[in-house]
């Protein structure tokens, strides 16, 4: 046990002094490529950002890459609280709060439903559970547009059409296949003996789910939250169709701002409104990028 054998397949740790101090050409090439790619993808964001803080006179000059000569935050204020979204001219703040009101319950409910489905499919294995799962997955590949009209009719008959619970239900339904897949695969990595031990300890369906499985699912819940928040926040067609006039999400209102056909096009206000709308997913990715990767890794390998 104490003897250490060095073989070519098991090299000893190299001394630190042998580490390269100068980057190799290949390394330089990789960085050059990465920087170019980053610049390419960041360019539109840069244009939006500078345009949003320029006054209209400056925009009319046509130097879209130029830095603003006279910086102003007026377009942002206007976009938030004064721009016309259709008939009302109260900015897109209403849309922001509508989106929050849709995203928060939809994310929570869809994740809970997905986790519950995944838990039931992996541990309780009901009869035909594989068939049920397959059916659910097929659901993920059916285009929204096909289902739109039947769903509108069905929701109208249940007087859910155009209501907040209605749009939450819609997002839950459309999120269910992917959420179920995510949680089912995560729970597949949990040793079955854990579930058996909890059964012997007297845990029932709900207790094992709430007290044991949900607390264990934190990494995958983070992934699910990121997916659902960005997905639902960026949704346009479902919000437009099902949310009703009172609850139109931010994306729909943004479209109303930008696609207006009357008057002068206020590019700076449009850019500010667009940036405001995309702020939530942007922040989520920036804050949780590390978690996102960790969550995927945690689900992928048995730990």
């Amino acid at each position: 046990m104490s003897a250490v054998i060095h073989t070519p397949a098991m090299p000893a740790a190299k001394p630190a002094s042998r580490r390269r101090t100068l980057p190799r050409p290949a390394r330089i090439g990789i960085y050059a490529f990465l920087l170019t790619a980053a610049a390419f993808f960041l360019l539109p964001l840069y244009v939006m950002l500078v345009t949003s803080v320029k006054p209209m006179e400056e925009i009319r000059l046509g130097h879209i890459f130029g830095l603003p000569m006279k910086m102003t935050l007026e377009p942002w204020v206007q976009a938030w609280s004064a721009v016309c979204t259709g008939l009302q001219c109260e900015g897109i703040q209403g849309g922001f709060w509508n989106s929050v009101a849709i995203v928060v319950p939809s994310t929570i409910v869809s994740i809970l439903v997905g986790a519950l489905n995944g838990y039931a499919l992996s541990f309780w294995r009901p009869r035909f559970s594989n068939g049920l799962f397959l059916l659910l997955l097929i659901g993920a590949f059916v285009p929204y547009q096909v289902l739109m009209f039947p769903l509108v009719r069905a929701f109208a008959s249940m007087s859910l059409f155009g209501t907040l619970p209605g749009i939450v239900l819609i997002h839950t339904i459309f999120g269910m296949p992917v959420m179920t897949l995510l949680f089912r695969n995560y729970y597949a990595t949990v040793p079955r003996e854990l579930f058996m031990a909890a059964r012997i300890d007297g845990g029932g369906f709900w207790r094992i789910f709430v007290q044991l499985m949900l607390p264990m699912s934190l990494p995958i819940i983070v992934v699910a939250v990121i997916m659902q928040v960005t997905g639902i926040w960026n949704d346009f067609i479902l919000g437009l169709t099902f949310a009703g006039r009172e609850h139109l999400p931010m994306t729909v209102q943004l479209n109303n701002v930008i696609n207006t056909t009357t008057g002068e096009r206020l590019y700076n206000v449009n850019m500010a409104a667009t940036l405001l709308t995309s702020l939530v997913p942007l922040v989520i990715y920036l804050v949780s990028g590390r978690w996102f990767v960790r969550g995927i890794a945690a689900g992928a390998v048995k730990g």
Binding site: M196, A197, R199, I200, D201, G203, L212
Partner: protein, 348 residues
């Protein structure tokens, strides 16, 4: 597990306070049997009684069982204390009773300093102790162990094995223990049930199963190195002794070797344990053999022999073990040998 019948037909009665070990190779159905007793698998036919109560269709929690798993199966988000008390909290026991039981179990297993830790902060041995503690606090009638020591290293395994035996003596509870490790089976069991292909091959006290195996499978599964089988013929039996012949090897077997009256003639397999073979200087009285390999084990040596084409293992305890290539004489303690039918593999 599909539609395969894993346990073909099985009758098993476990005495109160007994330590029964189910021993067998992987896939022999021993874990399936244990899971059926625990209620984690539904049985297709038959019934299970615990303490005189029919629990065939009872929920696992209502069977008065505690179970310990191979992978520990500790709840990763709960502390040691909460792991142990989970079942009691589910059952809705008063707080005082819960802490009393947890305290007693943790004292028994020396877990007191670890109560606040999470499973991830424990070593393998500690984790399995917690798992045992979690079963103990249930104060069940029957404790089930599903290969609890298989994930531990050799030293810890020996240690925990001794602790388990001690625990069984202190509690006097019924324990059913599944393993594929014959050493665990021999040391722990008050009775061993050797299983193969979903059937119990033999059940009895470890010493008895070892000394008088019911068939060739049981004989070969127990013991390390495993029993030597010498294929040959029986002839001229009658009276007190029977002659066994395998090539140049000839032996006269006493009547006690046989389970039943020996068949007069026919093929037979002689089973001799390595420790019942002793080496002598080559001579007329003993069968000549050549040493092909010597494995020093510290306390003894395993000597592999070539006896006229038959490979034999012998355990010798000698300060001067024989050398490879040396010619020796083989003496067998035939009173302790067994004879088997080569076709049915049953003991003759």
């Amino acid at each position: 597990m599909g539609a395969v019948n894993i346990l073909e037909q099985l009758d098993l009665a476990v005495q109160e306070g007994e330590f029964l070990v189910l021993l067998g190779p992987s896939g022999c159905g021993k874990s399936t049997l244990l899971h059926s007793i625990a209620g984690l698998i539904d049985v297709d036919a038959g019934s299970i009684h615990i303490g005189g109560k029919d629990v065939t269709w009872a929920d696992p929690k209502d069977r008065s069982i505690g179970m310990v798993f191979q992978s520990y199966a500790l709840y990763p988000t709960m502390s040691v204390e909460r792991n142990m008390s989970f079942g009691l909290r589910v059952a809705g026991l008063p707080k005082q009773e819960i802490s009393k039981r947890v305290e007693r179990a943790s004292k028994m297993l020396q877990l007191d300093p670890l109560l606040a830790r999470k499973p991830a902060q424990l070593s393998g041995g500690q984790r399995q102790r917690v798992a045992i503690g979690r079963a103990l606090v249930r104060e069940a009638q029957v404790f089930l162990f599903d290969e609890p020591l298989s994930n531990l290293d050799a030293k810890l395994r020996t240690e925990l094995r001794r602790e388990l035996k001690q625990l069984h003596r202190e509690l006097g509870a019924t324990m059913i223990y599944v393993t594929h490790d014959q050493v665990e089976a021999m040391t722990l069991a008050s009775r061993v049930a050797v299983m193969r292909g979903g059937r119990i091959q033999q059940i009895g006290a470890p010493g008895e199963v070892y000394a008088r195996p019911a068939n060739m499978f049981v004989a070969g599964f127990l013991g390390s190195p495993s029993i030597n089988f010498v294929h040959g013929q029986l002839s001229g039996s009658g009276g007190d002794r029977a002659a066994f012949r395998a090539g140049a090897f000839e032996a006269s077997l006493p009547r006690e070797v046989f389970l039943h009256a020996p068949p007069a003639n026919g093929d037979a397999v002689l089973g001799v344990r390595p420790e019942h073979i002793s080496l002598t200087p080559p001579g007329e009285a003993h069968i000549p053999a050549e040493v092909t390999l010597v494995e020093p084990m510290g306390s003894h040596q395993v000597v592999w022999l070539d006896m006229q084409g038959q490979r034999l293992a012998a355990i010798v305890n000698s300060a001067v073990p024989p050398e490879v290539g040396e010619r020796v004489g083989v003496a067998m303690d035939l009173e302790r040998a067994c004879l088997f039918d080569p076709r049915s593999e049953e003991r003759l």
